[in-house]
Each structure stands twice: as structure tokens, then as C-alpha cells.
Symmetry: C2
Subunit: 734 residues, 2 copies
């Protein structure tokens, strides 16, 4: 049984700070518990009252006669360390702390929160919050958040905004068919963390699908670990707010949590199997579809329309959501043609062209044929269905009711998702056609927006893909290497946090990456010429190697295409001279130069890409992949994954950048060697996973050829390094 | 008065093909007219009946005693030429032809349609359709399309899909507050074209905003001309379907009209002032906002929220929709701070942080301050407003009612758009809070989706920009030049439709474009060397000039960076030899070679762009601008405008490509010379506008420098040219 069970299925609840004032939470919570029929014990705690709402009130927790599972604490922040200690003494399992004024409110609050948590740890009390709107569990009738009109259902809700929770609860109420199981206002995560709630929802049999409204998590890395497991069992729909810098600054002033970069969140949350809602108004629809329907086994959708307009809009929307119009089997088309008028379109989208006007049962006949086609993964019905009785003749309503039953049965038999968009779906209450109410009751979601229906299909496809994606991390082992241990030792000894390029290359090579080009560091002009000779007298690139000069090109520390010994000799001298001048200007002293790196020039051509690792403050190390060059920098066409990376992760990154077609070869170019790119990405992941000392790693650019790749520059900064921005004073960044 | 007025405000309607069968349109139309209280004369026409629904039936149109404005023709296609002739004889002003089986149905239908139109022209009858769902005008109670539950209002609807019209009408019904003025099912546009309906709506005092659902228009160019004028007077919301190739193929099978490329439609429709809806479920909301609110004078929005969640989502959505969070004046912030609790955020987005819980009137106080700030163009209220009575205490409802009145008054006084998102906006009927119903009644739109509210704000900003954009085409004069007349004459004489590069350059130069580089065509090796000398012995590029070789590089017909006389001589020979071999392989004969073009090499650097003109089958000549290079080809980052181009159009194109930051200079690069780019675009526009003979023009690549641009290649194909794809057999394309 999940450790948090006593909090969500309490046999008894104490209200600390209970009140007789109907405006106060300490009154309304008791009122709500009574209204909602909570069957356990309710114990008001208030030394000044003897009875509240017909319940005996106790002066202290200790005075309560029976055991207490859960305490709702309505008292001010400063009382909390003591209240939690009292909870502990009483054997309370969990406390929901409403008060604000803790870590979100400055240094004093941070200290207060620490003392409260210390008391909790000492006494074995788990804390929800503080600074939470509360929690509820409709199945336990334990609603201590005070939301009204709650319908019990299968949607679990984790939210860092009380108002967003209220929005979703109200939308569910308007929908009329959707119910929630459990709600948690996450608050400050002082004790119980986001991932623990997620794991609780996995274990809760009443929860079928989880919604998380996330601004920023305290321990994103741990959350990802949990998510990776939970998302294979139950769909997890996440709305991550603070996508734009405008949104982030607003989110930060709200919670004090670091919201992080959306591109990072998007990459790592999807990698772990979450379905990401990008709009707040699609969250609940996604949860509904995922709770009712099976994941899609692939992206091929059949559209059944009764007019060209909706057929066209559906086709546009499917394509724009990355779904495909299923190619129907010839046999399916023949069978459709046999039951539809000559003017009907029997290629997908199927347009019945009036073929259902007189007899909407034909919809079910078509649905049967389409769902039986092995090339179809899901069926979207769009147009007037459900409203034929309204539009044409009331006598058709009976036929539509029967058709609803048949389509629902076909859904069950086929095991493929079926969704209905109806223009009559926008009508509410009395006006809403009965056949639509019936088919929804039978488990088929009904939409008044065609785009929303398609978005939900996309969610079903994403969930299918998340479940099929290999999640085993066994092929993603960290690699510690003797060579890099030595490098780290040297850095420690020399007090530097810049790993020199040749050291970084050695580390990559020792992690199993084929660098495909030898590198020699020369520390005299003669040594440089000897290196040139040793490399076979092919044209070489030469680069300064100095802990003090990171942006080598800007320092004049790079010379390319040197094709004879004299040139190499002259380049060596010039590079050194440039480096010295640059260092004098930027750091005011002579640079510490280890030598000049000599390596054969990379072949012409190749696609420029970037592979890098940074440590996200919440999610930990994340790997970035993108195309290089100024255009992509402007268009920000990059994707992120958390480490460790699996081979499937790496391949999905190559496919996910918007300009991925370039990797496949355009304008007659050959495709690049994706296997070699994946090898580099997995090697980088293994190395960074093994060495938490690596703060940043940057392979930029990497040239990808039809055969093999060449890493043109490799940078590693160690933990404790000033960040790239701040480093300008320490090392000569430009 | 608009010519179509008798069709939309008829004093009398004849139903040709009237029927006593309640399933038939000839019965239901009469029934609907009677139900809806049509006050004019209704004349059923059917030789077999004497009376239908209490109205005397006439055997023929001629037998009708009074004059007839409008005929609804329900008879089959084949009868139409005769029926229209009878309409003409009777003096009928307009006929709505429902039947299908005309131009959309193959060659026979095309011929039938031509005969019908010929009869109409001869007799001065205007035709709506054929293949139309019908028309209605709620203000004239002349509903002959048979939609039910029509509420009269200010939205005019033009649709190429009857089902989409029904969708929008039903959505308006569900909304409860939105009414339509006029509907037209466009049908085949056999006689009355799309733009004539648009102009009618402009002239109709009952129509405040126009919605057009467009699949493909017969005469897009004429529509754009009308749109340019109408969109300055009334907002025109257009949904263009068939955006993707999947959608287009579906649209084509539906209407037989060419839906065209969405990027082209998007560019030219927005250029002319349309507000483009990209989702079918936002069309009506956009129309509502545009009918209620004033256009925004700039993009700066103030957000007034009562919780961090909605504030964050609003900030994200505003940024993602290209809007800006207004920077509040210090004075505004101080005044807000004075009325809000200390925990409130008084920088935009404003989060009252509980400051309205006890007294929602504070919303109006905040709204007053925000609307008075000169840095604010519009106000978005988001969160619980309207539902405080539901959420906290019923006593607050009265305060909220008064607050609604005050906010509505502030809206009127400020002349700035105010929109309300409320999570209680999703509740319908009895549940919907009164303050929201009231504020909507007072002219403030209410949304249950925050993203939808922001989308509508974006529409108001777009409408403001469309109205402010200079629409005078006086600075966009066509330029005919003597030099290009000569070129055309030469082409005609020589039977070629390929304008040679040097001819194209001369045409551009004569149109006022500064080419910044001399070009000499040499027809012998000696002449090439003389050209090299004449150009000052700078390194030159050399290119074959031949009507038979368009893709010069592929033919080996281009040599670059030739820096001495010997090199020039050798290059000349090689280019000719390569050209001859290529032509032999591709067209099986020796090429017609005019010589070799010699021109100084363009300077290094510069941003590669493409400027081109094609003739769209519907919209006529359109100019494309985009960045060059393989990446942009993959990402399709191009924009289109119809000709003639104004300077404002040209500048908007530079700003509108996604990667426009590259033109402004990134990574320390200088910005490119936008004036020079605009000069080229306007010159190209002037030339192509003057010469309908130009089928395609391609300047690719153009290099844009900090000072000036260089056109590296210029191609012009003349009308009657095989298109690029088909030309491979005629000229040696690769």
C-alpha cells in the first residue's frame, strides 16, 4: 500500500484551527466534509470552542479520544513547528498545511519551513504543502479543499495553482460527464515531493489518468524517474506553464520555483512518457480521451464525414497534428462504394455525400468497414451525426440512437479509438441531441470542435508511442574511464575547471567514441612540424591549447588548412603571439599555454550539428541536439533529453528537429551517418552520466558526413566553473 | 444601392418547383418563410398544384400576378436554362439555384452551366449558385436555406460549405448572444462571384463583420481588390481550408475549385486586410470580438488576474500570439499598489493575490488604472471574475453586477478593447453567473478559454494593423520600359519564351533597380578577355547565355573567381564545350548559345535571399520573399504578397519570415541593407505588374550586404512557357 494512503483515504480528520466563523477555512472545511458525506471521524480542534457544526471540539490534538490519520492545519505559519510536533505526538500520519509565509516568502520563511520539516521528520509526519490550496479524494468523500459540485471519477489532478485546479474542476462540471478522483495542491513541496504524489496516483485504483499543472518542480530529476514508470501504466497529461520568458517571470513571482526552459521541459517530459498539453483549454479533453480510449497503435486515422467542409478541415488538422490519413484497402473502398451514393468519396476522408441523410444508420455500416480495415488505427466521425433528428426529421433520432449503440459496440470489438465530432455537440442541456449523450455514455468522447478532437487523437497516438518506446536504461550505462580520471586529477591539481580540448577528446575516445582523426599537441615550432609530418603531411588545422582561452577563434588561436612545414611553423608562432596578446587584453596577464593542437583538416561538406550537455537546475543533466549554423540559432531548432540517453532517445532526437529532412539528404545530397551521430550522443551521455563533475560539455560544431562524423571542437567545463556568461572575467571568453 | 439588394431584401419570392411533400425543399422553404415571418409575397410555382401551405400556386412564373424579386429554383439541373429564361421574361432580379450537376460534375455540366449563364446574361437575371445550399437574411426574414433557430445579428456569412455554415449557425445558437445578418452559400459562382457578395456585405447596414469560409475562389484577384477596400470598413474573418496537401485533395474532390497553396492565400489575404482564422473553432469567436470591440492601436496588453496560474498562462499565450505585455507606468504601479495587498504583483501581469476576494469591486478600480495608462492598448481580465458569488459568498454577486457595469463603462470611456476570461464562463444556462451574462450584454466578450481570449486579442491587433496599413497603390505604378519591350519583341521573333539572363538584368535595371555590377556578354574567347579587361581585371564570374540551358550550373555552364586573362580564355572554351555536351544529352541537339556573360565576382559574405514572382491561378501574380539556402528550403520560411506591392508590403515581408532576425544581423553581423532589398522587390513588382507576359521571375540567389545587394542570377520565363516542371523536354532544365 502506498505510504500516502492514510492522507488520501483517512479514517479520521482533525481540523486544527477549526472555527465557528463561516468565512473561515476552519469552518467551511468541516461544513464541506459533512455535506460531502465523509464517513470517518471529524475532530475540530480549537481551545475556545466546545462544539462546531454539531461536532465536539477539542482543545488540543492530544485531547482527541481516537486515532487521527490526517490533520488539516488552518493556523498561521509561525505555529507550524509546534503544531507538527503535536501531530507527531498524536500519531497523525499526514498534515495539510494551508498557511503561506514559508519558503516562498523570503529568508525567514525558509528557516521556518526548515524547522517545520525537521519536526515532521522527527515525528514521522508527512506534510502536504505548506502554501497549498488543499486536497480532496472524491472516492473517500474527503474534500478539504472546498471545491463544490465535485463528481467522482477517474481523473487525478496535481496542481501548482489553486485557480487552475478550480478551472479544471469547473470545466469538468460544465462537461457534465467528467469526474475527478483526487486533487493535490502541491504548494511548496516542503516534505512530500511532486513525484511522491505521482506515485501515489499510480497506486490509487480509483485514478485512471493523471493531470499535472506544473510551474517548476523541486526535484525534476526524481520526478522524471517516477514518470518513466507511471506513464507506462497510466496516461499522465502535463501542462507546463512558463513557456515564454514573459510567462516564466510571472511564474517565478508566483511560486518562487524555477520554472526552467520550456524546450528542456518539453524534451525530458515527453521522453519520460508524458502527454504534453500546450493549451490550458485542451488539458481536460486530453484527459477525457485518454481515460476513455485505448492508445493508438500507429498514426493512421480514418475520417467519416457527411460533407466536404468538415472532411477538408479534418484532413488539414490531422496533417498539422502529425497524424496520417489512413490509406484504405481497395476492398474497403469497394464495400463503401456499395453502400454509398455515386457522388460519395470513398477514399479517406470518406464523405458520404448525402448517403446518410435518409438513414443515419449508414454511419454505423461505414464505421464497421473502416474499423475492420487493418490500415486504420482510429476512426473520427465528423459532421452532423447526432443531429439528424434536429436537422432533418425527428423520426431519425431513433435510428441515430441505435446507430450510437452500434458504433459504441464496434469500438469495443475493434479495440481502436473512435471519436465523434458533431456540430451539434456545442449545444447544451435540453438542446443537446440524445444520440450524442448516449454515445458519450457508452464511452465515445463527443467534441464540438474538430480541432480539439484531432488534438485528442494526437494524444492517443503519443500515449501509444510512449508505451511502445523501450524504457529500459540497461543499454545506457555510465562509463568511467581511467583517462578521464587522470584528467580530473590534473584539473584538481592545477586548480582549473576548463578541460583542455585534447583532454576532452581523449575522454570521448575512452568513452568509446570513434574520433576518426588523430590529434597531436605540440609545444614548440619543431614539435608542430614533426606533428605535421607524423600526420602524413595532409593539410592540418592548428589550435591553441590553453586553460585561459576558451573562445579560440576570437583570440586568433586557430589556423586552418596549413599545407606545408613552413606554414605550420609560421602558424605556430602566430597562434602563440595572438594568444598572448589576447590574454593580456582580456585577463591582464600572459596565458597558461599547454601548446598547439595539430589535426588533419576535416573533409569538405558535411552537415553541421551541435551536441551538448548542460545541467538543468531541476532535471539534472540534459543533452541537446540541433543543427549548427546561424539560421538554426535564430530558429532555435533544438531538442533536449535527460540523461542517461537510450539509443531510442538519440534516434528520436534526430527525427524531432524541425529541419530533420536535412539529415536525410536534400537536393540530391546523401543522408548523413545517423549511426555515427547516435554513437557520439550515447558516448557523451555515458560520460556525463558517470561524471557529475562535468558541468557543461559542448561538441560544436560536429560535421556529419555520409560516412562518419568529425568533431571539430570539444569543450568540457567542470562543476564549480563559472558559467559561460560569468566566466569572461576568469578566462578569456569573447 | 447595391445591385444585389433585391436578392437579399426581396419584396416577393417565387418558389419554382414548389411541392406539397414535406421532405422536399420546395415545401420546407415555404414553411420556413412563413415560420420566420417573411412579410413579402410568396409565390409557389408548380403546374400540378393550386395551393401549397395556404398560398396560391401558379403553373408558371409568367402566371404570377405581381412582380417577383427573387426566385428559389428547386428544379433539376437540366431545366435551368429554360427556367432562367422564364425568370428573365418575368423580370425576376435574382435566382437561387440549388441543383447540383453543373460545372462541378464534368464536361456536360460545364456546358449546361454555360447555357444557364448565357440565358441569365441575356435577360439580366443574377444567379446565386448553382450547387448552393441557399441564402438567408435574418433582417428581411428571408430564410430560404432552411436553417432553424436563427437569431438576427450583425455577422454576415459567406461559405463554400453548407455544413460549415450549419456549424457556425449552430455554434452561434449555443453561444446564445450571437446573431447573423446574411448567409450566402457560394456554390459554383456561375454568375455572381465571391467578391460581389463581399461588396454587398460592405453595403449592407445590418452587417457589422463578415465571415468567409473559402475553399477556392474563381477570381481571387478580383476578390483581393474588393477585400482591400471592404476590410478597411468592416472586419473580414476568413477561414481558408485546404492548407495541407491532404486537405487540398479533399477540397478539390468537393468543389472542383483550385484551392491553391495556403502560404500564398495566407500572404495575399492578410495583405489585403483579412483576419485569418487558422482553426474552424475560432472563427465565430473572432467575429464576435471584432463586432463588439475596437481594433487595437498597438500590441500592448495589460493582464488583470486573481491568481498566478492564469497570469502565467496569459503571459505565455500573449507572447506566443505575437502580442506584448504592456509595460506599466510607474504611476500606475504605485496606484495599483495602493489598492492591492502587499503580496500582489503590480507589474504586468497584475495579480491581485486575494485583493478581490472580499470585494470584487477592486477589479473595476484596477481596470480603471490600467485602461488609463497610455502604455496599455487593451485589457484582459482573467480568472474567477463573475464567479465570486459562486465561489465565496452569494452576497458578492451584487458587487460583481455593479463591477460588470463599471468595467463596461470604462470600456466605453477608454475606447480600448476589454475582454474577460472567466473559469465560470464554461458554465451554461442556469449555472452561468449573472455578472458574466450582464457584462456580455454590455458589450464585453466573455471566454471560458484563456487561449481563445488571447487569440481574439490578436485578431483585434491584426485588424488595427490592417486598417493602419497604407493601402494606396499609387506608389506601386507598373513600369513599362522600352528595353523590355525590345526583349519581348526579340523573344517573339525568335519563338522563345526564355528571357536570357543579361536581358533580364537590363529589364530590371530599366525598371529602376540598381544592379551594382556591370555585365558583358562575350561571344568569342577574345571578347571574353576584352570584357575581363574592361571590368578592371577584377576576379570575374562567367556564365553561359543560352535559351536552351536554364539550369546553368548543372550544365557546367558557370565558372567562378577567374583572376587572369588565361583563365578567362580557358573558362570560355570549357563553358561552351560543357554547354554543348549537356544540350546534346538533354535536348539531342547543339544549343543556341548567345555567348558567355562576364561579371565581377560578388563580395564575400552577405545573406542569401530569394525574390520571385509566379502567377497564381486564382490570385494572379504574387511575389515571394525568403532566405535562400537548403535550410530554409526545408523549413519553407517564405512569404507571399499579391502584386502590385507597396513599400509597406515589402517591408512587412522582410519582418514576417520566421528567420527575420538574420536580416537584422546576428552574432555580431551588421544588419543587411533593407532599403536595397525593398528597392529590388518594388522594381520587380512594377515590372511584373506592367508585363502580364511574364509568367515567372526568379532572382535566386540575391546576396544582401550591409550596403547594397547583388543579384547573382536572374531568370524570366514568359507566358506560354512550359512551366518549370514541364519544361525539361523543351529546354535543358536539370
Amino acid at each position: 500500500m502506498n505510504e500516502l494512503n492514510p492522507i488520501f483515504y483517512p479514517a479520521s480528520i482533525a481540523i486544527v484551527g477549526a472555527s465557528k466563523d463561516p468565512a473561515k477555512r476552519g469552518f467551511r472545511s468541516i461544513q464541506k466534509l459533512l455535506e460531502d458525506g465523509f464517513e470517518g471521524e471529524i475532530y475540530p480542534v480549537n481551545p475556545k470552542e466546545t462544539e462546531i457544526l454539531g461536532k465536539a471540539s477539542y482543545p488540543t490534538l492530544a485531547a482527541i479520544p481516537g486515532p487521527v490519520d490526517l490533520a488539516l492545519v488552518c493556523t498561521p505559519a509561525k505555529t507550524l513547528p509546534e503544531v507538527i510536533a503535536q501531530c507527531g505526538a498524536k500519531g497523525v500520519k499526514g498534515a495539510v498545511v494551508l498557511a503561506g509565509g514559508f519558503a516562498e516568502a523570503g529568508a525567514e520563511g525558509v528557516e521556518l519551513q526548515a524547522r517545520m520539516v525537521e519536526a515532521a521528520r522527527r515525528h514521522g509526519v508527512r506534510i502536504v504543502g505548506p502554501n497549498t490550496s488543499g486536497i480532496f479524494n472524491t472516492h473517500a468523500h474527503s474534500n478539504i479543499v472546498g471545491f463544490s459540485h465535485l463528481k467522482a471519477g477517474g481523473i487525478g489532478l496535481l496542481s501548482q495553482s489553486g485557480n487552475m485546479a478550480l478551472s479544471l474542476v469547473t470545466e469538468a462540471q460544465a462537461n457534465g460527464r467528467l469526474g475527478l478522483s483526487t486533487y493535490v495542491g502541491i504548494g511548496n513541496e516542503s516534505d512530500i515531493r511532486f513525484h511522491e504524489y505521482l506515485e501515489y496516483m499510480r497506486d490509487d485504483a480509483n485514478t485512471k489518468v493523471v493531470i499535472a499543472y506544473v510551474e517548476g518542480m523541486k526535484d525534476g530529476r526524481r520526478f522524471l524517474e517516477s514518470l518513466r514508470g507511471v506513464a507506462r501504466e497510466k496516461p499522465v497529461v502535463i501542462y507546463k506553464s512558463g513557456r515564454t520568458s514573459a510567462g516564466r517571470s510571472s511564474a517565478q513571482s508566483h511560486t518562487g520555483a524555477l520554472a526552467g526552459d520550456y524546450a528542456v521541459s518539453e524534451g525530458v517530459l515527453r521522453q519520460a512518457g508524458a502527454i504534453l498539453a500546450r493549451k490550458s483549454d485542451e488539458i481536460l479533453s486530453l484527459a477525457e480521451a485518454l481515460s476513455l480510449l485505448e492508445p493508438m497503435s500507429s498514426r493512421r486515422v480514418a475520417v467519416l464525414a457527411d460533407g466536404g467542409g468538415h472532411a477538408t478541415i479534418a484532413a488539414d488538422a490531422l496533417t498539422e497534428h502529425g497524424l496520417a490519413l489512413a490509406t484504405l484497402a481497395d476492398r474497403t473502398k469497394q464495400q463503401l462504394a456499395a453502400i454509398l451514393p455515386a457522388s460519395a468519396a470513398v477514399a479517406n476522408p470518406v464523405d458520404v455525400a448525402g448517403g446518410t441523410d435518409a438513414d443515419p444508420a449508414v454511419f454505423a455500416d461505414c464505421a464497421r468497414l473502416l474499423l475492420a480495415d487493418p490500415g486504420v488505427d482510429a476512426l473520427l466521425v465528423t459532421g452532423l451525426f447526432g443531429g439528424y433528428g434536429v436537422r432533418f426529421s425527428a423520426t431519425l433520432t431513433g435510428i441515430e440512437m441505435e446507430t450510437s449503440r452500434r458504433i459504441a459496440a464496434l469500438h469495443g470489438e475493434s479495440g481502436k479509438p473512435v471519436l465523434v465530432h458533431s456540430l451539434y455537440g456545442s449545444l447544451y442541456a435540453d438542446l443537446r441531441p440524445q444520440p450524442l449523450a448516449l454515445i458519450r455514455e457508452l464511452g465515445i468522447p463527443v467534441y464540438d470542435s474538430l480541432e480539439r478532437a484531432v488534438r485528442c487523437l494526437q494524444g492517443l497516438a503519443e500515449f501509444g508511442e510512449a508505451r511502445r518506446r523501450p524504457q529500459s536504461l540497461s543499454d545506457a550505462r555510465p562509463i568511467r574511464t581511467h583517462r578521464f580520471d587522470e584528467v580530473l586529477e590534473a584539473c584538481r591539481r592545477e586548480g582549473r575547471d576548463v578541460v583542455l580540448e585534447h583532454e576532452a577528446r581523449q575522454a570521448l575516445e575512452s568513452a568509446g567514441i570513434d574520433l576518426r582523426a588523430p590529434v597531436i599537441v605540440a609545444d614548440t615550432e619543431d614539435a608542430a612540424v614533426r606533428a605535421y609530418d607524423a600526420l602524413g603531411r595532409v593539410p592540418v588545422a592548428m589550435k591553441i591549447v590553453s586553460r585561459d582561452i576558451i573562445h579560440k577563434t576570437d583570440a586568433g588561436g586557430v589556423k586552418l588548412g596549413l599545407g606545408d612545414a613552413a606554414g605550420v611553423r609560421a602558424a605556430y608562432a602566430e597562434i602563440l603571439e595572438n594568444g598572448r596578446r589576447y590574454a593580456r587584453e582580456h585577463i591582464g596577464r600572459a596565458p597558461d599555454v599547454a601548446g598547439v593542437l595539430v589535426t588533419p583538416m576535416a573533409p569538405k561538406g558535411g552537415v553541421e550539428v551541435i551536441i551538448g550537455v548542460v545541467r538543468d537546475p531541476s532535471y539534472g543533466p540534459v543533452l541537446m541536439f540541433g543543427l549548427g549554423g546561424v539560421l538554426v540559432e535564430v530558429l532555435k531548432d533544438v531538442v533536449f533529453r535527460s540523461l542517461p540517453l537510450t539509443e531510442a532517445d538519440a534516434r528520436s532526437m534526430l527525427a524531432e528537429i524541425r529541419a530533420s529532412r536535412i539529415l536525410d539528404g536534400v537536393r540530391g545530397a546523401s543522408p548523413v551517418d545517423k549511426d555515427a551521430l547516435v554513437e557520439v550522443m550515447l558516448g557523451v551521455s555515458a560520460l556525463c552520466d558517470a561524471y557529475p563533475e562535468i558541468a557543461e560539455l559542448d561538441l560544436n560544431p560536429v560535421l556529419a558526413y555520409p560516412q562518419g562524423v568529425r568533431i571539430l571542437d570539444a569543450r568540457i567545463l567542470l562543476e564549480g566553473s563559472p558559467s559561460s556568461d560569468a566566466a569572461a572575467t576568469g578566462a578569456a571568453h569573447a
